[in-house]
């Protein structure tokens, strides 16, 4: 479905992705974990070419993408993305946010796009908010609209870039629930996340990144219970400790 080979990305002198290899099969959910600055988000943004890697190959649905020559707009139609800060269009209401790309890019008639959008809004539990503007929604609702907006293009793959990191703790669950449902329906997903419980429950593979390198790729049970790499163990010990402290205070 998606394959990344020997990807290298620099921001100026900073080497942010180092010889990254990653393979995601159809219907799999892969969670990327690691400290901030480890390159998780950059990897995700390289996969839909919001960032251009300096070297390496990216295959989408078996085809090597040549970012200089291929129509990236076409490729991005197949690769949905959900952002940490939602990035809804504030001058458009919820329904208009969802139908914008299907109508303007795929030239789907407004009536048909609206029907599909309403079905998607129902799926994410926001049928009653179709006429609302983003400024009238909570963070969790915004993110669910953003997911519906990405799904409206009928992508083959969904990329999630820390989709719950900007949410108040009590709103995280509603977004994760939508993502779990998507995973159950067989959507191929790559999720950058700090939600370890989500990764353990939903992921087929968990990828631990550190300083621009993939350190470990394991099944969730293995990585959380018996990580192979010392660095993974150290990272998870710190993260899970903080999580426990938080739940203890809460």
């Amino acid at each position: 479905m998606i394959e990344v080979r020997q990807l290298n990305k620099y921001f100026g002198d900073l080497h942010v992705l180092k010889d990254v290899d990653l393979k995601v099969a159809q219907g799999e959910v892969v969670c990327l974990i690691g400290a901030s600055g480890s390159g998780k988000s950059t990897l995700l943004r390289c996969i839909n070419f919001l960032e251009r890697a300096q070297s390496g190959e990216i295959y989408i649905q078996g085809r090597l993408v040549n970012p200089g020559k291929d129509d990236l707009d076409k490729i991005r139609q197949e690769v949905g993305m959900v952002f940490q800060l939602f990035n809804l269009f504030p001058h458009k209401n919820v329904l208009e946010n969802v139908i914008e790309a299907p109508v303007m890019v795929k030239k789907i008639p407004v009536k048909q796009a609206t029907e599909e959008a309403l079905a998607l809004l129902e799926k994410v539990g926001l049928s009653d908010k179709a006429e609302s503007y983003p400024s009238q929604l909570s963070g969790g609702q915004k993110q669910r609209v953003a997911i519906a907006r990405a799904l409206a293009m009928r992508p083959k793959i969904m990329l999630f870039d820390e989709p719950t990191s900007a949410l108040d703790p009590e709103l995280v669950g509603e977004v994760l629930a939508v993502m779990k449902q998507l995973a159950r329906e067989g959507m191929t997903m790559i999720v950058v996340t700090h939600e370890m419980a989500f990764a353990r429950e939903v992921a087929n593979w968990v990828v631990y990144m550190d300083e621009g390198r993939i350190v470990e790729v394991s099944k969730p049970a293995q990585i959380f219970d018996a990580p192979r790499e010392a660095r993974t163990r150290e990272f998870l010990r710190r993260v899970l400790q903080t999580n426990n402290q938080q739940s203890a205070t809460a």
Binding site: N48, L50, D73, K74, R76, Q77, V79, G80, M81, F83, L85, N87, L88, F89, P90, H91, E100, A101, M104, V105, K106, S135, A146, R149, A150, M153
Partner: protein
């Protein structure tokens, strides 16, 4: 002459000259509308060029903005009127409008650029991630938001443009200022009165225009 008598004279002149000044006002408004209409188009094109990643485009936009902001408007109007108009057979009205448009366009380009750059990068990224092209994302997502944010400084620029249209008098346009000059020459001793009348017309136009802009701002909820 006391203030009372002067007021009576002034009032008499104001009423007597109303027909000709109203005609001049219409010309002033036509000049301003043409100048700002074209100026907005110029501003939009050069703002897009300036933020372009294409070095050639951004350099051209830079050069344009630097030259136009760095030279006096009256020089620009004369360039077009005496330099270009005879060669290309441009009527005085369009020479003046074009001079004003090119001048205002440089300032409007900077207003639009600021508006576009004030929109968070995430908006463009979200639009592109949905498969929209750069230009489609600009047109549908970025520019509507940027334009709304540009309205307050744009209103300010329009007021400047309206008053700057008085310089069209120097390329034979019988607009408000030219009319005042002609009347003053025609009736020596009443220069103060006629220039005051011209000023009053400009002031009235600016007040009405400011009111309309404020209404538009409130309608569009510019703060949001």
């Amino acid at each position: 002459m006391g203030i009372f008598e002067w007021s009576a004279t002034f009032y008499g002149l104001l009423v007597a000259s109303a027909p000709i000044f109203i005609q001049a006002t219409i010309l002033t408004l036509k000049l301003t509308a043409a100048a700002l209409g074209i100026g907005i188009l110029i501003g939009l094109v050069f703002a897009m060029m300036k933020i372009s990643t294409n070095r050639l485009f951004s350099c051209i936009a830079d050069a344009y903005i630097t030259v136009i902001r760095g030279t006096p408007l009256i020089v620009q109007i004369f360039w077009i009127y005496y330099g270009l108009a005879p060669v290309l057979d441009v009527p005085a009205f369009w020479a003046a409008s074009l001079g004003l448009a090119i001048h205002n366009g440089a300032y409007i380009a900077e207003i639009f650029r600021g508006g576009i750059q004030s929109i968070s990068r995430g908006q463009m990224e979200a639009a592109r991630s949905l498969g929209m092209s750069y230009l489609l994302a600009m047109r549908r997502i970025i520019l509507p938001q940027a334009f709304k944010r540009s309205i307050p400084p744009l209103g300010n620029q329009f007021i400047i443009g309206l008053k700057d249209s008085s310089l069209a008098a120097f390329v034979t346009m019988p607009e408000l200022f030219m009319t005042a000059m002609r009347r003053a020459a025609h009736q020596p001793g009443y220069a103060l009165e006629y220039y005051t009348i011209a000023g009053a017309y400009y002031l009235a136009l600016v007040v009405i225009f400011s009111f309309l802009v404020r209404k538009l701002e409130r309608r569009l909820d510019v703060d949001k």
